[in-house]
């Protein structure tokens, strides 16, 4: 048992750290949930891609570095420790790309992955519908066969990044009246500026258009933009959901960096009003370290030929609750300044704590609510009987 990095891994870490030190903007970019911030973050993706740092774990032929899981974790640690911008391309890179690598065609990979990695095409997800949230398989949007492709109809909602993104991916019902709801679904990609698509931005809790409703009226999608076999969309999508909850969506580096910043904030406070805040700062450091080590153990199991399954639900509940606790502690430490919105003139740290706090509140909801995750933990890891939800 060890926690040692190889010389090659240390070299990789140094290279990432050096590049980030030279390129990370001195002042944080505007929130990526605004038009101005979205454009700035897209430009940042282009700079990352130009030096092959945007998708380090992808094969070199698609602009990556063929990095191992451990190297990816190292990159993420350095990335967030350097205070680098949030990743506006993450829906594509973390959710769609793994699906394309597993289920896509060579033609799809050649056409889609490059522009995704460079930020030229930014992807939104289109899973949820007004009547299909946690019960995603009950979705009703349709894909109807037509010459050379499909016609999409219906409504998607809470579609992250869709207010400013270029394209979207999601599941559509291509076969009506199947015996079970998760049968007869097809995984499709479509442009958000296609005829028949109406995008209505939705303000998140702080009013920024972080997601959108999508109204689809006979939107044509060619066969080339179906991933996997028609009717097999559920199976294809679940491989993405596994990635979303597992090692790839929220890397430990985000939290170890945020916890260190929190500790610095606590140490810098002239007289913390409430000594109990110190305990909460310590818990943030402990939680972030625990998540990092848990992930190292998971990466070690994968390297030893193991796999991840329902364990990713432990992960999702843990980081999402850690994120909220960490940011609430920061706001409490900031006292009256902690009540300022991220774009307020006197917002501390360029509003990064306020922005992080608002973002953290969504964590227990997206990527499978924490209630669903706890059901999965109880049933699949502890072997408890299924019951009514």
């Amino acid at each position: 048992m060890n926690l040692d990095f190889t010389a090659a891994e240390e070299t990789f870490r140094t290279a990432a750290r050096d590049w980030l030190a030279r390129h990370v903007p001195a002042t944080p970019l505007p929130s990526l949930e605004t038009a101005e911030g979205f454009a700035a973050h897209r430009e940042w993706e282009r700079r990352l891609f130009a030096d092959r740092w945007s998708v380090v774990s992808w094969p070199e032929e698609y602009g990556g570095r063929g990095a191992s899981i451990l190297q990816w974790l190292i990159f993420e640690e350095e990335y967030y420790a350097a205070g680098a911008p949030g990743r506006v391309s993450q829906n594509g890179i973390n959710l769609l790309a793994p699906t394309l690598f597993e289920h896509g065609t060579d033609e799809q990979r050649a056409r889609i992955l490059g522009p995704m990695a460079s930020g030229e095409v930014i992807w939104a997800q289109a899973w949820s519908e007004p009547e299909a949230g946690s019960d995603l398989a009950s979705l009703r949007s349709t894909a109807v066969r037509t010459d050379g492709g499909w016609l999409l109809g219906g409504q998607k909602t809470w579609s992250s990044r869709a207010a400013f993104a270029d394209r979207a991916f999601g599941l559509f019902r291509s076969e009506p009246d199947t015996p079970k709801p998760h049968q007869g679904l097809t995984y499709l990609m479509f442009p958000l500026d296609a005829p028949g698509v109406t995008v209505r931005p939705l303000g998140r809790l702080d009013g920024k258009p972080a997601f959108a409703e999508l109204f689809l009226d006979e939107v044509f999608v060619p066969d080339a933009d179906v991933i996997g076999e028609p009717g097999q969309g559920w199976r294809v999508a679940m491989s993405t959901a596994g990635n979303e909850r597992g090692l790839t969506l929220r890397s430990p580096g985000r939290f170890t960096a945020a916890a260190e910043r929190l500790a610095a904030l606590w140490r810098a406070a002239p007289e913390p009003a409430d000594p109990a805040l110190g305990d909460r700062v310590a818990d943030a450091l402990i939680g972030a370290r625990a998540y990092q080590l848990f992930t190292y153990a998971g990466a070690s199991r994968l390297a030893a030929g193991g796999s991840t399954g329902a364990e990713s639900s432990l992960n999702k509940v843990f980081w999402s609750e850690l994120d909220i606790a960490l940011h609430e502690t920061a706001l409490d430490l900031l006292g009256p300044y902690g009540t300022l919105a991220d774009d307020a003139e006197e917002a501390p740290a360029h509003g990064s704590w306020a922005e992080g706090y608002t973002f953290s509140l969504a964590g227990p909801i997206y990527a499978g609510t924490n209630e669903i995750q706890r059901d999965i933990i109880a049933e699949r890891l502890l072997g408890l009987p299924k019951g009514r939800r």
């Binding site: 310590a282 450091l285 432990l314 706890r374 408890l384």
Partner: protein
Amino acid sequence: MRFLLSDEQREFARTLDGMLGACGTPAVVRAWASGEHKPGRDLWARIAEAGVFGLAVPERYDGMGPLPVELAVAFTELGRHAVPGPLVETVAAAAFLDRLGDGAAAGEWLPKIASGDAVVGLCAGAPFALDADAADAVLVVRGDTVCRTDAHGPVQPSLDPARRLSRPLGGTVLARGPAVAAAAAHAVDIARLTTAAQALGLGRALLTATVEHVKRRTQFGVAIGSFQAVKHRLADTLIGLEFAQPLVHAAALAVAANAPSAGREVAAAKVAAGEAGHAAARTALQLHGALGYTEELDLSLWIRKARPLRDAWGTPADCRARVLAV
């Protein structure tokens, strides 16, 4: 990096688990709580035979240590079976004597600790010694002085009757000076690490017992384990334990490497494992209902141990302060 227990370490854990499971520890715990130490000392000898105490003793004193990772593995199993006695104190005393480098005291006690012939208490920074009435000697550290004594005040019951507390009395000075304080700091790290491991094992046992209970127990015509409120509480208990475990293992590695971060990592592990074990006990109590609140159910022996383990060798507040110290 391979942050996983080796096959040998896992096999060691399985062997201990099997051995302790066959020993009927609940009867031993109940005897220990009543002041009858014979069954506990017999079990102590079996644990020594399995090599557990030798993990804290270097080879030149008939041990095979110091091996902090293996100690953490072993103490997880000791906690899983709620084994009574000053187990933590004895291995911490061994770490203290080894680090102190006092040839006479080390030569007198370390071989006997490794063989299981000596039960040694350790009292450092706390008013009470654990199980001094069962110990062959108690080392008492006050500042930069360490005394050895075998006298103690009246035994006072604690919230866990199997943890018997008393004030150490008198004693002869063994050593004095800065080396004592340094050795004591190391001993506290070992004590915290092994206590954390015990709390982790204790919590695992409580979770397993409670999962089995909620699968069997029916109310309203169904197993109570099918209710979401019950499931979610158990899911949270598992999350607490799963994220404490890597902290315990990493802390053991840091101690093994004498890393400058060892004290902080051990403190972090102690907070997380202590709280997770304690939360598991609260869950076990709640989900067993009134049954869990009864002394005659063996589960009580585990439930009552959780809180002392959370607080022994550094309360969560002490350990959080250590995590924050630069």
